[in-house]
Point group: C2
Chain length 197, copies 2
DNA sequence: CATTATAGCGAACGAGCGGTCGCATGTCAA
DNA sequence: TTGACATGCGACCGCTCGTTCGCTATAATG
């Protein structure tokens, strides 16, 4: 009669949904992976769909905490080298943290079927990072670290390639190290192009 | 006894798989959408999975034709403006052609479940365009249109953002016009940054 | 101690799944 | 005309799905 059963179910669901999709996941396997009987799940959720909705709720909250408010903006770096280090660190987290990876995979898989997943996908994969880096680049321009350009365009030009590499990593995790190197190399290239001498 | 039944089944399958995924699609609905009896499908394919494999075969062939051989490389533009026009035209096709869109969606949805889909996804979303534009940018550097940089890095920095926008379009097709404008704006920005005066 | 709520279990249910079977029909070669 | 083959159909089969049910054991409440 463990207290954390509901959370364990959600974790297992995230794991299976992100691998096989909502339709490709069945309750029996899900509960079995927790050493739980099929029917016991229904003590905690009304239906399979309620699990799905609970997961999307979690993701919405997570997104709000991570990107939703100004106080969670990263500090504006004081040098180009610091920028590279900071973004490398952020990429490291976003690629190695299993829960974040699974969240991304889930949104990738279900974006065409579920409207909430669709909206979250656009935020997670595009606007979230874009807004954050628009702020960072604007700050770096203030500090004369970067040449004056539209910071929004720069944010897009920077975050989109990183996003593509992160997706590559989700797809082929055995290439994680290679991807991390490419992210760093791209960051350096980007700073070389846009940085003030 | 239409001759094209097999092809019609494949088309309908691509349509449904790309929307609901392989697991979320059932044969009854698929055949019904063609005005065909459920069992008639088995005259043309041994199983649901054989349809899936046939679709992947088609995609592999399509990829080979589009990106696989040197003779399908685009001409190297003679001016920065020509580059913008060319890429805009390519984007237009890739975004508006229903079959290409569905292929992309299918690979997006199934990339974590099926190894062949995974490999095709990496090619379609990354290496294909990258190789093509590495060639284009190298050519443009020869013609002194672009400053001399690693053409591979430039290809990545250019194609990845375009890919992200195309994915946005797959997810929210009502934003197609906006996305096309962003692609053009990004292309111009890119030429402004890397182009020789 | 008695009672109630909570959280687990296996059996079973109806629906829907992928797939098979036997039969009907149209086409075409002999 | 006949026989063989290709293509269609609806009925049906066995299985798996999400879900429900009745029951038990433990924990909390008074």
């Amino acid at each position: 009669m463990a207290k954390g059963t509901k959370e364990r179910i959600l974790t297992a669901a995230l794991e299976m949904f992100s691998q096989y999709g909502y339709a490709g996941t069945n309750i029996r396997e899900l509960t079995a992976s927790l050493g739980l009987g099929k029917s016991s799940m229904y003590r905690h959720f009304e239906s399979k769909e309620e699990i799905w909705n609970a997961l999307l709720d979690e993701m919405t909250v997570y997104y709000e905490n991570r990107f939703g408010s100004p106080e969670h903006l990263p500090p504006v770096p004081d040098s180009l080298e610091e920028f590279v280090a900071m973004t490398k660190h952020m990429a490291e987290i976003t690629i190695r943290d299993g829960k974040i990876v699974m969240t991304r995979k889930l949104l990738t898989i279900e974006q065409f079927r579920d409207d909430r997943a669709r909206d979250l996908a656009t935020k997670h994969f595009l606007t979230g990072l874009e807004d954050m880096f628009t702020y960072v680049f604007a700050g770096m321009m203030e500090k004369e670290l970067l040449r004056r350009e539209d910071p929004g365009m720069l944010a897009f030009a920077y975050t989109a390639p990183v996003t593509v590499l992160i997706h590559l990593c989700d797809r082929e995790p055995e290439r994680t190290d290679e991807v991390m190197e490419r992210i760093e190399a791209f960051s350096r290239h980007f700073m070389k192009i846009y940085g003030n001498k």
